[in-house]
Subunit: 352 residues, 2 copies
């Protein structure tokens, strides 16, 4: 049976047009069903303007929208009929297999935890970022949901991201590294040193501390860090990549010869941009909830949304949560269940 | 009177040849005196091979060398006649005005603290990184010396880096930002939230939280963070810049037309590389000690060393420490003197 994805069609910075286009692309390139959740009058009009209405695109009404800068917890408490809450309600009742949102990432996480609940053994669900590297992709977790962490939280991030990497990228034993400031186990802050001890005792393919410069070399498949560090890295990377290209562009613009050279090399620049484009993976998987969800960059275009819908469907098809539970069962003694409220969750605006 | 700089001529990954070349360049382009500290037989031979011996280059013997991966505190305790200890001993006795080292950065900091002591009001001396941006340079502090910090430490970093920015880049009121994961004051981890309150009460030109993506835009002059986050950022930036250029190079190599284009645009690439080259500022100033010091990248070439010697001399000439004390005096009530041992110092290998 075809999988069914709910798309929060009201979130994001570009407005619903881009999101609807992504859904249309996704249904054209696959047999997926997509439910667009939001203002059905507006969404219906956008869909009509696309001409080809598809029997696999459905409209589900939600009367409210969570704004990008709204406090996540206030938002989900006050806006019970928001598109993001409605999308997760569909997931909870079993009408859809996954949720995709380009809206307020904190509210997306908060709504997921509230409506679906946390996966067994997981005290802190989090957000995993997928980075391109010189070789394959690397999964970094957490990239913004949990800013003050304990070692057991970092260990859980490692397990979840490893399971995701296995399922999505087909890696048998993904190499898991702990992001630190020196490769020796004795280097790092208190959190990292204590987490290192947990990882060393685990069944994961733990390769020890890795440094920021290793991120893009492709010699590690999973990088573990707290959500503060991960979110800083995520945004620093975006900013640096933009600045590098901006500075290069300024230098090229200074001479006619260089501009001519750029025109000749243009295809290479286009391939390069495609290679480092966040749109390639569409978004960041939300891991540790009883369900499947992807949060996308607020600026996501239609291609990014299409890819996010594809990744969400793969998470559901390949049962990433079953894999997470399997990995937890191998290290049962290291997993300390705590039920403390997820006080730090959802603060970072990972995708805005 | 001409300033005099001590250069730890045995540290670094490239061997003393490159360091000596840097010193030769520095004395040719300025009236500085430079003392090369290390194995005088070897250094004398290298100097002789340069032909033009200068009366402004002096040799000072040290019988030991601290290795790049040695534990800083062990090293300075055991190797009292190491080149780095000797260089700071010269500074302590007043024979030189500043120290430059491309060796073990942790040991450099530890030696500085041991021999020169901490500046008044400073509980944690640290290392400031200088990044190129689309506009002027930005100073980030701390980039690796102090991995577990309290809010007052971050405040001290802000004061010291602001003074450095005033003195070195001629900024009257450098804009100081706190590196966080959202621009609102309420966002961040516990450390950042508490530090935000301190900065808000200060006389600094505090512009609030800034995000990683702001680093390279040039809209902030000083970015404050703990040494773990700063060191991760430093190494991530290095790794990303290399990966971006590597991926672009791979794409260009795929087609003849693109290669031809690259040749035409080559000057632009060279200017670009010069613009983002760490060698431009030569190294990272060590702030909060009773003296002037620069720690350089272990891979530093002669040009980087020459620039580091220049920046070190500017720190001495413009009395950066007097400026730091002036800024502290404006915010006296916010500066809490603590004399706890600098337990986390010098762990990060900021320049290796």
């Amino acid at each position: 049976m075809a999988l069914h994805i709910a798309l929060d069609a009201m979130g994001g910075d570009r407005g619903p047009e881009e999101l609807v286009s992504g859904a249309v692309l996704a249904t054209r390139e696959s047999d997926l069903e997509v439910s667009l959740v939001g203002d059905t009058v507006r969404l219906g009009a956008i869909l009509a303007s696309h001409g080809a209405s598809s029997p696999r695109i459905h409209l589900v009404h939600a009367s409210q929208v969570v704004d990008m800068d709204e406090s996540p917890f206030d938002a989900i408490r006050r806006k019970k009929d928001s598109s993001i809450m409605k999308a997760f309600a569909l997931h909870k009742e079993g009408s859809v297999d996954a949720v995709v949102s380009a809206g307020n990432s904190g509210a997306t996480l908060a709504a997921a935890i509230k409506l679906l609940g946390r996966l067994e053994h997981v005290s802190r669900p989090g957000i995993a970022g997928i980075y391109p590297t010189l070789k394959g992709p690397v999964v970094m977790m957490d990239v913004g949901a949990n800013v003050d962490c304990r070692p057991e939280h970092l260990f859980q991030f490692g397990v979840m991201a490893a399971a995701f990497s296995q399922v999505l990228f087909g890696l048998d034993r993904p190499r898991v590294g702990l992001l630190s400031i020196g490769e020796e186990g004795g280097k790092g802050n208190i959190l990292v040193k204590k987490s290192h001890e947990l990882f060393q005792q685990s069944s994961l393919n733990y390769i020890g501390n890795v440094e920021g410069r290793d991120t893009f070399q492709g010699d590690v498949d999973v990088m573990v860090c707290d959500g503060f560090v991960g979110n800083v890295c995520l945004k620093l990377s975006e900013g640096l990549a933009e600045a590098v290209m901006g500075m290069l562009g300024e230098e090229i613009a200074k001479s006619f010869k260089a501009k001519l050279g750029y025109l000749l090399a243009r295809d290479a620049f286009v391939s390069f941009k495609k290679r480092v484009d966040y749109a390639e993976y569409g978004g960041a998987p939300l891991l540790g909830i009883r369900g499947n969800a992807i949060v996308c960059h607020g600026r996501s275009n239609a291609v990014a949304m299409k890819n996010a819908i594809r990744v969400a469907s793969e998470m559901a098809r390949n049962k990433v949560n079953d894999r997470i539970l399997e990995l937890f069962s191998l290290d049962h003694r290291l997993v300390e269940q705590d039920d403390a409220p997820v006080a730090n969750a959802a603060g970072a605006g990972v995708t805005q």
